[in-house]
């Protein structure tokens, strides 16, 4: 059984149904891309996994259905690190305190060496460890967000538009590091992206969402080769 198994997922904002019941799965140690236009339900899917929107159907993580569980409990129990759109930086506290917050559910003694782990991937963060996080640049904040996710020692990382608003060169570096994290630490990742090229390049499987439903699914390279996808999302 897959690490994360979604069946018949529906999600609601108030009265409005945003996801109309689809299936999705994420295998252990793999990166899966979720593509789609604005409003297709990508972000909602990630939020549903973390219990942040009202949802129906089943979301099974490590064999347990998490629908109805609180966000805090899902994060703590199943080690799911969510890197939200716009980074979710805690702007008022220092950069290192942001990292500390990533490990808030873990025991204090265990996390000391994890700072070094994060700085190993993102050397630039080390220089700014005591700077107020709100004053970091967009790229640094994105790295900080990934770093914060790493502090959880996650099994699953949910990444929401990590390339959003970043310069192409920084985006490429970020995705290189994401791939490295996936290989080195065996973290499974669900990546939501507008920049389909980059996402597909590091993914094994991919889903294409359209207005709250899965329009297409398959191995990443197949998706990349698909005529229609190329036209609509890859731009060539």
């Amino acid at each position: 059984m897959a690490l994360l198994e979604i069946k018949g997922l529906k999600a609601y904002y108030g009265q409005i149904e945003a996801l109309h019941g689809f299936d999705l799965s994420l295998e252990e140690g793999e990166i899966t891309a979720v593509l789609g236009a604005n409003g297709a339900g990508k972000t909602t899917t990630l939020r549903a996994i973390c219990g942040m929107v009202k949802s129906a159907g089943s979301i099974t993580v490590e064999g347990e259905n998490v629908v109805g569980m609180s966000t805090e409990a899902i994060v703590a129990k199943h080690k799911i690190a969510h890197v939200p759109e716009g980074c979710g930086t805690f702007v008022r506290v220092s950069q290192e305190e942001n990292l500390r917050l990533g490990a808030v559910t873990r025991r204090y003694r265990e996390i000391e060496k994890d700072y070094e782990r994060v700085y190993h991937y993102f050397p630039r963060l080390k220089e700014r460890r005591n700077q107020q996080a709100g004053t970091l640049s967009g790229g640094e904040q994105q790295m900080l967000a990934v770093g914060r996710a790493l502090m959880l020692r996650p099994k699953i990382m949910l990444l929401d538009e990590p390339s959003f608003g970043l310069a192409p060169i920084i985006t490429e570096e970020l995705f290189r590091i994401l791939g490295q994290i996936n290989r080195d630490e065996g973290v499974s990742m669900l990546v939501v992206e507008q920049n389909a090229n980059l996402a597909l390049a590091i993914s094994k499987n991919a889903y294409l969402l359209e207005t709250g439903n899965v329009a297409m699914t398959g191995p990443a390279d197949q998706i990349m080769d698909d005529e229609q996808v190329r036209k609509s999302y890859l731009g060539y």
Partner: protein
């Protein structure tokens, strides 16, 4: 002694009152990202509880026992207010919260008068009222400053060095992100309210021996406390204490040498507005960077 020096010393002593309350203001601001307009009234009510515990007509407990019991009751009360009153409206707009603060203000004020009547009550102090430095400052005021500083140290350490303090700040400033890293936001808010109510209770118990205990003891005091917190920086406990002392001194200077004692409250008003406009972070607070 020179009038200027005497007014400064007297300002320091009064400033200790404001510092105490400013600390409580910062505590709640850090914990829930709001000003609690009912903070003064809650502190006043806590003080009445302590008075009841101590007074012969009440339970007649010794001071320090009453002190601790009062802090515990205030903590539970504060947390209960969050859970019962604020948790159900956590998604409501700011206005709703302000209205509930005003409602609490009105309710505590009214309830205190109803339960304990309006005649001024004498509140005991363990430090005594003997002169500490002859003609300058009394032992209670020294004790009060000492307790304020101890409390400051504890709050500073709590926010700075403990994971739970950090989590609390995160939960207040960005509840959604906090939830995503696994912070139990509801628990943090209740804890923050509890702690703020406790700090307020200590402030009330320190202030009451000087001002005497009446249901309206906190209205003006709270304004100065707000001024202190704003001057010092709403995110900095140390700033709040320094700000409180500064407001105390400034009030005396302005009252004595510039505007006369009739416009002292106006000084606090102007101070709040000017600082908010010119240096919103206050002296020691951090600039709140907003992403747009």
């Amino acid at each position: 002694m020179d009038l200027f020096i005497e007014q400064t010393v007297s300002g320091l002593a009064t400033g200790a009152i404001y510092a105490c309350l400013a600390l409580a203001v910062v505590m709640i601001y850090q914990a829930i990202d709001h000003f609690n307009f009912a903070q003064g009234e809650m502190a006043m009510f806590s003080t009445y509880i302590a008075w009841y515990l101590m007074d012969d007509a009440g339970l007649g407990l010794p001071f320090w026992v009453a002190f601790v019991v009062c802090i515990v009751i205030s903590f539970i009360g504060g947390a209960a207010i969050e859970r019962i009153v604020f948790a159900p409206i956590s998604d409501a707009p700011v206005l709703s919260h302000i209205i509930v603060f005003i409602a609490l203000f009105s309710m505590f004020n009214s309830l205190a008068g109803f339960l304990f009547d309006f005649t001024p009550k004498n509140f005991e102090t363990p430090f005594g009222h003997t002169p500490f430095i002859e003609g300058v400052i009394s032992s209670h005021r020294v004790g009060m400053i000492a307790v304020t500083l101890v409390m400051l140290g504890m709050i500073y350490a709590f926010f700075r060095f403990t994971p739970i303090g950090l989590a609390m700040r995160a939960a207040a400033a960005a509840p959604e992100s906090a939830r995503l890293v696994g912070v139990r936001v509801g628990f943090m808010l209740a804890l923050g309210w509890g702690l703020a109510a406790s700090v307020g209770a200590v402030a009330g118990m320190l202030i009451a021996p000087i001002t005497f205990l009446t249901p309206d003891m906190m209205l003006g005091t709270l304004l100065y406390g707000f001024a202190g917190a704003v001057v010092g920086g709403l995110t900095s406990p140390l700033g709040a204490v320094i700000g409180g002392f500064m407001v105390g001194i400034l009030e005396n200077w302005m009252g004595t040498f510039v505007v006369g004692s009739q416009l002292k409250l106006t000084v606090a008003l102007v101070l709040i507005i000017v600082v908010l406009l010119v240096k919103p972070a206050g002296l020691l607070g951090r600039v709140v960077v907003k992403r747009v």
